[in-house]
Amino acid sequence: MKKLIAVLAVAVLSGCSALDKVEDRLFGNGQQQAQPTDPRTSSNTTEQFARLAVTITEVRKSAAHLVKIGQLKPDTARQVQTMADLARKGLDAAINLYYSASTNPQNEQEAVRRLSEVEQDMQRAREMMALEAERAYNAKKGASK
């Protein structure tokens, strides 16, 4: 049994390491940042949209997982859902603005501004979730002593 746990732990760490590498390559941590073939900033904007869409999705999936294992209260998960909905609304608006920039060039700037707000919303949701999960973990740890 101990060997099985060790194997699983190694597999989890390998997965985390692989994720870090993919994220490094994608989002440009350190020197591994891929340079866009198209130097226009608009290229980075659509990639930011995609990155945020995946981030919102992953925040929801993480919250669902944490609720299932009892590390997140339903109330907090509901707050995360609301924040993710808000972020999604902002992202939808930013995407629509961006792709309508051909009719109004100012829309692109507005899209980038909204994008920044959405990023902040998701950061807050992540922090709230991490804090709550840590509290639940410490409470369980304290109760088991």
């Binding site: 049994m1 099985l4 746990i5 699983l8 732990a9 597999a11 989890v12 997965g15 985390c16 692989a18 994720l19 993919v22 994220e23 390559r25 994608l26 891929a34 866009p36 073939t37 198209d38 608009s42 290229s43 904007t45 659509t46 990639e47 949209f49 995609a50 990155r51 869409a53 995946v54 919102i56 999705t57 992953e58 929801r60 999936k61 993480s62 919250a63 669902a64 997982h65 609720v67 299932k68 294992i69 009892g70 209260k73 339903p74 998960a77 509901r78 995360v80 859902q81 993710a84 909905d85 999604r88 992202l91 939808d92 995407i95 792709y99 088991s144």
Partner: protein, 71 residues
Amino acid sequence: MNLVQAIVMLTTLLGQVEAAVKAARTLSDLIKTARDEGRDLTQEELEDLLDQDDAARELLEQAIQDAENQG
């Protein structure tokens, strides 16, 4: 925490990591293809990603309701 709980938790964690790696790879491939073709991501490509968020929203909603029903 007993051994069985530890195994269940680790297995679930492994599933989460695999899902996250898969999502990151899908995103990476999407961006790479667009860069190779010298273009931005299209609105349709972004909408495909947003559809996945819709599915995740349902997943979280269900998890919340299950937890609330359990009290």
